[in-house]
Assembly symmetry: C2
Homo-oligomer: 265 residues x 2
C-alpha cells in the first residue's frame, strides 16, 4: 500500500504551533518518523495555522525537504497554495492533493500535474457534492480518468479518492465504497490508483483503540477490493501491519516468516 502520512497538517495542534513559531524541529521529526514508519509520501497541509498560507506552505515543504528524501504530497483546497509548494520542490516525486471530479477543475489540475510530472489525487465528487451511491462515484471516476488521458497524465500518476464518510453518518457507505473500488479497478488497464482519507471513517468513535480497529478492518477489505493507497496515521503500527498482511494474503507480496520486516525494508 502506498501510505501517505497525514501528520504534517496544521489541523494538528503541534503542527499548528510549529508553523506559527517556525519551529522546524517538530516538522522534521514528524517527517523522519513517518518515513521510518512506512510513509511513501508525506502529506503537507498548512491548515488554518498561518495568515500567509503561501509562505507557510513554502516553509513546510522546504523544512520537510531538509529532513528526508521522502516524496511529498501538497495538500490544499486552494490552487495558489499548491502552486506555492510547487515553486520550492527540489525535484523529488510529488503529488497534488486534490482536485475534485468537476470537469472545469480537472481542466486546471490535470495539466498542472502533468506539467510538473506530479501525481494527482482527484476526489470522486463534483459540483453536485459527495455522491451517496456507487454509480455516481464510478461515473465521476470515469470523467477523472478521461480527463487524465485527454491531458496526457499517466494513469499511474492518478489517485482517485472516492471519499470516505464517518461510519455513523451512513453505515451503508463503507460497503458501497468496496463496490466503487472494484469497479474503478476495471476502468482502465492499467487502472488508476485509489486512495482514501482513512482517518475520517472512524472520527466519531470516542476511544482511540476503537477508531484504530475500525480503520484497519476497513483497510483490509478495501485492499482486497482494489484500494492501493491511503492517507492515514502511519504511526498506527497495527494498521500498517494489517495493510502489509492483506497484500501478502492476496499474493501481492511473497510470504516468508519475516514478511512484515521484508515489506518495511
Amino acid at each position: 500500500m502506498i501510505a501517505i502520512g497525514e501528520r504534517i497538517n496544521g489541523m494538528f495542534k503541534d503542527v499548528k504551533k510549529a508553523i506559527r513559531a517556525k519551529d522546524a524541529s517538530v516538522i522534521k521529526d514528524l517527517a523522519v518518523r513517518q518515513t521510518e514508519a512506512g510513509a511513501a509520501y508525506l502529506d503537507i497541509n498548512v491548515g488554518t495555522a498561518a495568515e500567509d498560507q503561501l509562505a507557510a506552505m513554502r516553509w513546510l515543504v522546504q523544512t520537510v525537504q531538509s529532513a528526508c528524501k521522502t516524496p511529498i504530497t501538497l495538500d490544499s483546497q486552494k490552487l495558489d497554495v499548491i502552486k506555492a509548494g510547487l515553486e520550492v520542490v527540489d525535484g523529488r516525486p510529488i503529488m497534488i492533493n486534490s482536485s475534485n471530479g468537476a470537469p472545469e477543475k480537472l481542466d486546471v489540475y490535470v495539466p498542472l500535474a502533468a506539467q510538473h510530472n506530479a501525481s494527482l489525487i482527484a476526489l470522486a465528487m463534483d459540483a453536485r457534492g459527495v455522491p451517496q451511491n456507487v454509480e455516481t462515484r464510478v461515473e465521476i471516476a470515469g470523467v477523472i480518468a478521461m480527463k487524465a488521458m485527454e491531458h496526457g497524465l499517466d494513469m499511474q500518476k492518478l489517485f482517485i479518492d472516492p471519499i470516505i464518510l464517518p461510519i455513523n453518518v451512513d453505515q451503508k457507505q463503507p460497503g458501497f465504497l468496496l463496490d466503487v473500488f472494484s469497479q474503478i479497478r476495471m476502468l482502465s488497464d492499467p487502472a488508476p490508483h485509489m486512495t482514501v482519507g482513512l482517518t475520517n471513517l472512524s472520527q466519531m468513535a470516542s476511544e482511540r483503540e476503537m477508531r484504530q480497529l475500525i480503520n484497519r478492518t476497513f483497510i483490509v477489505m478495501a485492499i482486497a477490493a482494489g484500494l492501493d493507497s491511503a492517507i492515514c496515521d502511519v504511526f498506527d503500527t497495527a494498521l500498517m501491519d494489517a495493510a502489509i498482511t492483506a497484500e501478502m494474503v492476496l499474493n501481492r507480496q511473497i510470504y516468508s516468516d519475516s514478511f512484515l520486516k521484508a515489506a518495511r525494508m
Copy 2:
C-alpha cells in the same frame, strides 16, 4: 459470524489427555470458556486419542452437554463416529462436520442431517481431491446445494467449506477463495452458509502472533466476500473483534460506541 470453537479436538494435547483419562473438568472448562468467548457452536472431534472412537465421541458430547447449552458440531471423517454422537445429543441444535462434495457421500450425509434436523458442513472437494481453481470449487458447491434441495435440507442448514490451505502451499489460494465466496453467495436465494477451517491458513508460521495476524486479516476479507462462519480459535480476542468489526463496517450490525460489547451479548 457464526464462530465454531475448534478447541475440543483430540489433536490438542490437553484434550487428548483428558479423553484418555476421562477427565471431564478439562472438557467442561473448554466448553464454557469457548461459549463465553463467542462460540455459537462447539466442535467436538475425538482425533486419535481413543481406541474406541465411538465411546469417546459419546463421552465428549455428554460431557459438553452437561457443561453448557451451546450447540454442538460433531466432527469426524468416520460416519459411525458421527452416528455415535447423534445417539446421545439432547435436542440442542447440532451440526455434522463433514461430508465432502462427492454425490455418493452427499446421498448419505444430507439425508442423515435432514433426518436429525442438523446443519451440515460439506467440503467443496470430491473424489478428485481438493480443487486448485475457483471454477471447480464453485461447481462442487453447486452439486452440494442441489443435493441439499433434493434431500430436503434447508439451505439455512447447509455450510459449504471451500477448503483453506496453508498460505505457503500456494499463495494464490486465499485470493481464489475470496472469489469462491462471492460466487457461492450467488448460488441460491437464500445462499447457503459458508465456513472455513481458519487455523489451517497460517499453520506454517512459526510465531503465534504472526499466525493470528494472518488469520484475522483473511477473515475480514472473507467476511466482505460473503463468508459467514469459521471453525476457529475463539480465544483469539483480536480475531473475534476483527470479525465483529467487519460485520459492523458492512452494515450487518448497527454501529454504536459499544458495538463490540453489544455483539458479544
